[in-house]
């Protein structure tokens, strides 16, 4: 199986794997949610390095910028906003049988996936090697990914842009403070429309 493994690559992989697993372990078992966030950062960095090792440079960069730099930061923002208290939610489990179910799911999945990897061997990937979008060492990775994104997957690309817009709108709507429930002003008569409707709203809510 391991025919020609670059020792550098192997060591990199091994170290990053450690980092990734350690971070994941921290996320799952930390009592303090901020510690979990830090563990997540470690995992994400490890994954970014692994991307690099695989030759996906763009992705590594995007991973660090978007995931670590934006998403984890957002999570930390909210954590701080809502207040950090060390809950002892790792110690006790109120739902009966939940831990057993979780262990079953985790170990089951793991076992099955590992079995698939080892039993499948080289036939685990069933697709054919691509002819159009082969990874070539000549072109830069960014150019290759960019080309594929804007030609083969342009439709999906545009849709994701829409998706992001929707997400932003949703977030804004969700995070608004609830308006005070005052009655709508009487509809103005046709004869004398009021230039500026007078409102006594401290929030300045717009109708």
């Amino acid at each position: 199986m391991n025919s020609s493994v670059d020792p550098v690559e192997a060591i990199t992989f091994f170290l990053c794997a450690l980092v990734v697993m350690g971070g994941a372990f921290g996320v799952v078992t930390s009592r303090n949610p901020v510690h979990s966030a830090l563990g997540l950062v470690a995992t994400l960095f490890g994954i970014a390095v692994l991307f690099l090792a695989q030759g996906a440079q763009l992705l590594a960069a995007v991973q660090v910028i978007v995931y670590t730099g934006a998403i984890v930061v957002l999570i930390l923002f909210v954590l701080m906003l809502l207040g950090v208290d060390t809950e002892d939610d790792v110690d006790e489990e109120p739902l009966v049988g939940q831990t057993a179910a979780a262990i079953f799911v985790a170990l089951g999945l793991l076992g099955l996936l590992v079995t698939t990897v080892f039993v499948g061997g080289s036939e685990i990937v069933t697709g054919t090697k691509s002819t159009t979008a082969a990874i070539s060492p000549d072109e830069s990775n960014i150019a290759q990914v960019g080309r594929v994104l804007f030609t083969d997957y342009v439709f999906a690309f545009e849709i994701t842009a829409l998706l992001l817009t929707i997400a932003v709108v949703g977030a804004v709507v969700l995070a608004r403070r609830p308006r005070s429930y005052e009655p709508m002003p009487e509809p103005a008569s046709m004869a004398a429309p009021e230039p500026f409707p007078s409102q006594d709203d401290a929030e300045g809510s717009v109708h």
Binding site: A101, A102, F104, V105, G108, L109, L112, V119
Partner: protein, 668 residues
């Protein structure tokens, strides 16, 4: 003139409708005269139609008024079928009904619901006429149910007394059991022939398979048992005496109870096509009923109950004739029985009227001196029913006995014993009521009773003289206290008004001469037999015994009647022998009470069981389905606990299982 046949039932129906609308306003006695007029008009129309029928060559006439039920292949018309059989029935039904209506005007005088009584009577006459005139089984059934309903109305006419209401209910329910048989017979007929019309069914009856014919005949016989009070459904008839006496005379003597006999005669082709044991069974049931009822009548003390059991007994004779295949003889006996039994009942009513509503014979006596006309009619009818020549009953009963002798000596002997008992108990009744000591005089002028009580401790003996009350004396005679009506001080039985005596006399005369409708031995004297020939020719049994045998049988009948009368005279007139009235006979062989005990005891338990089954199993199943669904829903509901983590773990477990299955499939 035969086209006027529709008018015959239409007139009483009109009377009924008019009385429903205006009866209360007409009041007494106009309502009574209206009803009587309607039925008399119906009788006169019947005479006219009779003339028309006789004039026809072929003595049959069909008239359909309209299509009653048009339902595709099942079509029933409202039609009338006039042939000698139905003509005969119509004549004596309307005639006797008219007389009884006249009688009721006098009998029901003073009753608060006078007009309602006549309303029901007219409805009854209408129903009975529909029964006999119908040209198909469904119209007959309409009449059949109608007379049953009217019987119920009229038996419980004085429903303020719970016993009367109960008697009406009993009659209706017992009839209903028989009606089931009629309906099954109707269904079978339709299933076999595809039609219910007599004109289509009866000629084709000869081609019936034996089992089908047997089944049909049995079902109709069950209906006849219910309506005509044979074993085992006769228990309603004695109770039906709770109704006013004209009702007993009309419905439970002359007309309704004969409907069963009429039905069997009408369906005679089917009876002939059935297995041999069916007519045998009918004959034996008839003769056993005659014997049983006669034995019970010997020990009855209510004047009407004796006549009720007598009716059951005579109906048994009629069924004996039917079973022997002598259908015209059954009709003959039906006619003579109608005459003398109606006369007896009306006479009994007259006696009850004269005795201030007392019905127990033990407080009567020597009434012939005070009610001569009633006595005359009663005596004539007595001789008729006892079978004394030349009165009507002698001829009809003797014909039956002759046929019975021809069939089987055992049957003849049993019928003879019944005839003997008939003569005995009827004579007993006549002697108790019209002869002997006037018991009522003792009651109204009681002898003081002196009781000597010895003094205490050797002191003076004291005498106490008390005058016993009427009720006490009556109870001493054996009359139940609640059935005794106190008599006024200066009491003398009086004769009834002309409205009551005229029908009595007419019926008495008919009872005298009615026998000459069919004279035995004389070839040209068989009027009734020849008249009914077109109907019964192919189905009737014919007499094969020699003339000498017939004469011998005639003499034997007369002798037996004489023995019966003489025996009763010895016991009840001359008081030389003590009366034999065993308890078991007085209680009707305990048949009625055992039926009540059974239905009330195990019967009710069985019905409760069935009801419980319905409640528990059937309802329980239905409710159980609902309850089961609910509980299933309740348990499934637990899955949606609201915990997101639970949902997630369920998803996880599910996906592990699915993936496991896929890997398993790939690996193995």
């Amino acid at each position: 003139m035969v086209e006027l046949v529709w008018l015959i039932p239409a007139l009483p129906l009109t009377g009924f409708v008019l009385l429903v609308c205006f009866g209360k306003r007409l009041g007494e006695p106009a309502a009574g005269w209206l009803a009587t007029g309607m039925v008399t008009a119906s009788f006169l129309t019947a005479l006219v139609v009779f003339g028309g029928l006789v004039a026809k060559d072929e003595r049959a006439f069909s008239q359909t008024l309209f299509t009653w039920i048009p339902a595709g292949s099942f079509e029933v018309g409202m039609g009338f079928y006039l042939d000698p059989l139905s003509m005969t029935m119509v004549l004596f039904i309307t005639g006797i009904a008219a007389l009884i209506h006249l009688y009721s005007v006098g009998y029901m005088h003073g009753d608060p619901r006078f007009s309602k009584f006549f309303l029901y009577l007219n409805l009854f006459v209408f129903s009975m006429l529909m029964l006999v005139l119908g040209d198909n089984l469904l119209v007959t059934f309409l009449g059949w149910e109608g007379v049953g309903a009217c019987s119920y109305f009229l038996i419980s006419f004085w429903f303020e007394k719970p016993a009367n209401a109960s008697a009406g209910k009993k009659a209706f329910v017992t009839n209903r059991i028989g009606d089931w048989g009629f309906m099954m017979g109707m269904f079978l007929v339709f299933f076999t022939f595809g039609t219910l019309r007599y004109a289509d069914v009866l000629p084709a009856a000869g081609g019936l398979a034996e089992t089908t014919a047997t089944l049909i005949a049995l079902m109709f016989f069950i209906g006849a048992i219910g309506k005509s009070a044979q074993i085992p459904l006769f228990v309603w008839l004695p109770d039906a005496m709770a109704g006013p006496t004209p009702v007993s005379a009309l419905i439970h003597a002359a007309t309704m109870v004969t409907a069963g006999v009429y039905l069997m005669c009408r369906m005679s082709p089917v009876l002939e096509a059935s297995a041999d044991w069916v007519p045998q069974m009918i004959a034996w049931i008839g003769v056993l009923t005659a014997l049983l009822a006669a034995s019970i009548a010997v020990a009855q003390n209510d004047i009407k109950k004796v006549l009720a059991y007598s009716t059951v007994s005579q109906l048994g004779f009629m069924f004996l004739a039917v079973g022997l295949g002598a259908y015209w003889v059954a009709i003959f006996h039906m006619i003579t029985h109608a005459f003398f039994k109606a006369c007896l009942f009306l006479g009994a009513g007259s006696v009850i009227h004269g005795m201030d509503h007392n019905q127990d014979m033990r407080v009567m006596g020597a009434l012939r001196k005070f009610m001569p006309i009633t006595a005359f009619a009663f005596l004539v009818s007595w001789l008729a029913i006892a079978g004394v020549p030349p009165f009507s009953g002698f001829f009809s009963k003797d014909e039956i006995l002759t046929f019975a002798y021809q069939e089987s000596p055992a049957m003849y002997a049993a019928a003879m014993v019944a005839a003997l008992l008939t003569a005995y108990y009827m004579s007993r009744q006549v002697f108790l009521v019209f002869w002997g000591k006037p018991e009522w005089e003792e009651l109204t002028n009681p002898e003081p009773v002196t009781v000597v009580t010895p003094g205490e401790d050797g002191g003076e003996a004291t005498e106490t003289t008390t005058v016993p009350s009427q009720t006490e004396l009556a109870v001493a005679l054996g009359v139940p206290a609640d059935e005794f009506h106190e008599l006024p001080a200066e009491f003398h039985p009086h004769e009834s008004p002309w409205t009551m005596t005229v029908p009595l006399v007419v019926l008495g005369v008919l009872a005298m001469v009615g026998g000459f409708l069919n004279i035995p031995l004389v070839d040209d004297g068989h009027f009734l037999e020849h008249w009914l020939e077109p109907v019964f020719e192919e189905t009737s049994t014919h007499l094969t015994v020699s003339d000498a045998t017939i004469i011998a049988l005639l003499i034997v009948s007369t002798v037996v009647a004489a023995i019966g009368i003489a025996a009763a005279a010895v016991v009840y007139l001359q008081h030389r022998v003590k009366p034999v009235e065993p308890e078991i006979l007085a209680k009707g062989w305990y048949i009625d009470s055992s039926i009540s005990a059974f239905v009330g005891g195990p019967g009710t338990a069985a019905f409760e069981g069935v009801a419980a089954f319905d409640r528990v199993v059937v309802d329980g199943a239905v409710n159980g389905v609902g309850a089961g669904t609910r509980s299933l829903g309740q348990s499934v509901r637990q899955v949606q606990s609201g915990y997101v983590r639970r949902y997630a773990s369920l998803i996880g477990i599910g996906s592990v299982l699915v993936m496991g299955f896929m890997v398993f499939r790939a690996v193995v």
